[in-house]
């Protein structure tokens, strides 16, 4: 069967769509076969995919468009989450928490950016981890402010009334899932991802985006034609902090907990793995990478490898080890990062010629 000639963009979307439908189709098929997949499981997978797509989207904007290497991304998520948490602790309405989280993350980005954006890229990488760790240390130590390691729990989540009655509940029931979080949050996350992705894409194609691409190519040339590189890079950094803050908030709502351990550098590097595997040259990479990575993990759970004769048992232990949270999964992250950068640096949907051109 010959596919019609699609534009490059179209082809990349086709890949993403194929990936997504492939994953979910296979999961449901396997479920039919050995009953290992429930509606709740699928919702969980979709939720994780959506959350990390959001987190990775910010990185993709910062690096893909502006060439900024941000290794402290999870710090913005922490601010988002604790904004919501603080609102709960102090009895403020939930939208105040959201505003606090979003504005706080943007403010942090500006504060971090001002001293570091004039320096070279690897300095930015080091400085951003430093800032993120300082944020986490404060969250951990200032118990009076953030409940420290004990965390913030059982806060009323917005939308509960809407979600537990009426049409939404009916929809959930028909799918065989619990109507409220995580299903609610998963859908919300997907919607927010869509909105932000659409916004960021428009921005990337606007004159603003053109200036950023120029800065990424050659900062001196951009300066020579009257663009102030610092200002644009700062805007990109601040903008990329927004989906990260949303990740933090949505995670908090989905799992009803906010603890400092959720915001360790490891999570930033999960997001980077997703961006790199998906493709650094395009915003779509965030989505593709998240689907691929978490889809892989889901498969491992679901395949019931131990039923395969002879090799099933050991295979299941190895694969299970590599895909469950813990040293195995982290080892997998490390290997993925090295292998992808060595052998397929453009990732799944990236374009090789946009990685490096005559440099």
């Amino acid at each position: 069967m010959k596919l019609p000639a699609l534009s490059r963009d179209g082809r990349e979307w086709a890949v993403v769509a194929a990936l997504a439908s492939g994953v979910f189709l296979l999961l449901t098929l396997i479920s039919a076969r050995n009953g290992s997949v429930s509606g709740e499981f699928l919702v969980g997978v979709a939720l994780t995919m959506a959350l990390f797509a959001l987190l990775a989207l910010g990185l993709s904007l910062q690096f893909g468009l502006a060439g900024l290497i941000n290794f402290g991304h999870i710090g913005f998520a922490a601010i988002g989450a604790y904004g919501v948490g603080l609102a709960h602790l102090n009895g403020w309405p939930w939208f105040a928490g959201v505003a606090l989280g979003l504005l706080g993350a943007v403010a942090l980005a500006i504060v971090v950016g001002i001293p570091t954006l004039r320096l070279r890229e690897d300095y930015l990488a080091i400085a951003t981890i430093g800032v993120a760790e300082i944020v986490r240390t404060i969250a951990l130590s200032e118990v009076w402010l953030t409940r420290g390691p004990f965390g913030i729990y059982s806060f009323p989540l917005p939308g509960r009334d809407f979600a537990t009655s009426g049409p939404w509940a009916a929809l959930a029931a028909s799918l065989g899932v619990v109507p409220y979080s995580p299903f609610f949050v998963a859908v919300l996350a997907l919607v927010l991802f869509g909105v932000l992705y659409w916004t960021f894409s428009r921005l990337a194609r606007s004159p603003w985006g053109r200036v950023l691409r120029a800065i990424r190519e050659d900062e001196d040339v951009a300066g020579a034609v009257g663009k102030n590189p610092f200002r644009f890079k700062l805007q990109a950094l601040a903008l990329g902090a927004v989906p990260a803050a949303l990740y933090g908030m949505l995670y908090a709502w989905a799992f009803a907990q906010i603890i400092p351990a959720l915001f360790v550098p490891l999570v930033t590097f999960y997001a980077w793995t997703i961006v790199v595997v998906g493709g650094v040259t395009t915003l779509r990479g965030a989505l593709a990478g998240s689907i691929a990575f978490w889809g892989l993990t889901a498969f491992a759970r679901v395949l019931r490898l131990e039923t395969i004769p002879v090799v099933g048992g050991p295979l299941e232990s190895v694969v299970g080890f590599l895909t469950r949270p813990g040293p195995g999964q982290e080892l997998l992250i490390g290997v993925l990062l090295v292998l992808v950068m060595l052998h397929r640096p453009q990732g799944i949907v990236g374009r090789r010629e946009e990685l490096r051109f005559g440099r």
Binding site: F63, I69, F71, P115, T116, R118, L119, R120, E121, D122, Y123, A125, I126, A127, I129, G130, V131, E133, I134, T137, I138, L140, S141, P265, F269, W272, V276, G326, P327, G328, E330, L331, I333, G334, V335, L336, L337, V338, M341, L342, P345, R356, R359
Partner: protein, 411 residues
């Protein structure tokens, strides 16, 4: 309110901690300066050193460890002797590994190392005990004499074999005096770190250098390597903190401050290592070549230096120091877990940037300063902010003087 005595105590602790940081930072700054690689896996080399030392001291009975060390000594001696006896060849192909093609100074270094290890093993069966202090004094004297002789003979354009002999003798004496399962384990832990580093150099870093990889590629790959090393350790040894049995010894009182034996050991080992690094960089051919490479990589390549060999030497130096620093961690109240490398990584970067990227002496100074700052903050403010203090120093340096104290590159 903290008293002056408390502050001095924090200072003392800080110097001890700082010397461990300094040791590890030297390697990091040299790699950064010469290979343009911000090595996010450097901290994990410390973890390898710590776990390697632990493995040898606990899992391997002393007799077996002595066997390992003796074996290593024999191998080193063979390599060294072969290097000394082999005829000098011109125009070697780049990257050749064969033992017969060592530089004479490298061969001598190998023989000295072998003698030191052998003396250490001897010391395990025939401990110096009462003679330890005189032996150490003798070692220092021989070492100083070696430096003086080397200087004078180099100035006259003559070879420095006498200096090598003196230096070798001093090293062996010191090894005999200090021989204890701890030092042996520390040396073997450092060796483990070297093996890991050279492995990744061959499999990952050299191919990337050949492809002229971008900064982002190097950064991401080093993160990947860090994850691999850290979790390999966790898989083998478990993710919990290591349990050490440290012998209980009476600390010394120096004025208002208390000095534990562990801290003294840390300082002595660090000082000896730093002196060794200085001698290496200043007096050996490889060391001088490394400095030339650091100053001007393009010129060095053009002048026909075998860069790949030099890079291997660089990794041996950097990883050896890092592994040694890792072995010293338990002596400074550091809870060692597989993640200890990452915990320390930013602190190491802070020391490197403070001292100026590429400057070994800057890294030493930076490490000491950061160590003191960390202990002061931990004591005067709150222990929770110990590491955050080093990150704050890092950011402050980037704000105020990105090229560091001793210069480097800012933008």
């Amino acid at each position: 309110m903290a008293s002056i005595a408390d502050v001095i105590q924090y200072g003392v602790n800080g110097v001890a901690l700082g010397s461990v940081i300094a040791l590890a930072a030297i390697g990091l700054t040299l790699i950064y300066g010469i290979l343009n690689l911000a090595n996010f896996a450097h901290g994990d080399l410390l973890a390898v050193g710590a776990y390697g030392a632990f493995f040898f001291s606990v899992s391997v009975p002393p007799v077996e460890a002595a066997f390992w060390a003796l074996g290593l000594a024999v191998v080193l001696a063979a390599v060294g002797v072969a290097g000394l006896l082999a005829p000098p060849t011109r125009g070697r192909s780049a990257g050749s590994w064969r033992a017969g093609l060592l530089e004479p100074s490298e061969a001598r270094a190998a023989v000295v190392g072998a003698a030191a290890l052998a003396a250490a093993v001897l010391g395990l069966s025939l401990p110096a005990r009462g003679l330890a202090l005189p032996a150490l004094a003798g070692a220092l004297a021989l070492g100083a004499a070696a430096l003086v002789v080397a200087r004078r003979r180099t100035a006259r354009g003559r070879g420095s074999d006498v200096a090598w002999a003196l230096g070798g003798g001093g090293t062996a004496l010191a090894a005999w005096a200090l021989a204890s399962p701890f030092f042996l384990a520390a040396a073997l832990g450092a060796a483990a770190a070297v093996v890991v580093a050279v492995l990744f150099e061959a499999v990952v870093w050299r191919p990337l250098r050949a492809r002229r990889a971008t900064i982002l590629t190097l950064l991401i790959v080093s993160i990947g390597v860090a994850f691999i090393v850290r979790n390999a350790i966790a898989i083998r040894f478990g993710s919990d903190f290591l349990n050490y049995a440290r012998p209980l010894e009476l600390p010394w009182r120096v004025g208002p401050a208390i000095f534990t034996v562990d801290q003294a050991t840390t300082l002595v080992v660090a000082a000896a290592a730093i002196a060794g690094v200085h001698a290496f960089l200043a007096f050996t051919r490889t060391g001088k070549a490394l400095r030339a490479l650091a100053d001007n990589p393009d010129l060095a390549r053009l002048s026909g230096m075998d860069v790949n060999r030099l890079v291997v030497a660089l990794w041996i130096l950097a990883a050896g120091l890092a592994g040694l620093a890792g072995a010293l961690l338990p002596l400074n109240n550091f809870a060692v877990s597989p993640g200890v490398g990452f915990t320390l990584l930013l602190t190491l970067f802070a020391a490197v940037i403070l001292g100026g990227i590429g400057s070994a002496y800057g890294a030493m100074a930076g490490g000491l300063v950061i160590g003191v700052v960390m202990e002061l903050v931990a004591g005067l403010a709150s222990p929770d902010y110990k590491f955050a203090a080093s990150f704050a120093v890092l950011i402050l340096v980037l704000l105020v003087r990105p090229q560091g104290i001793l210069g480097g590159r800012a933008t």
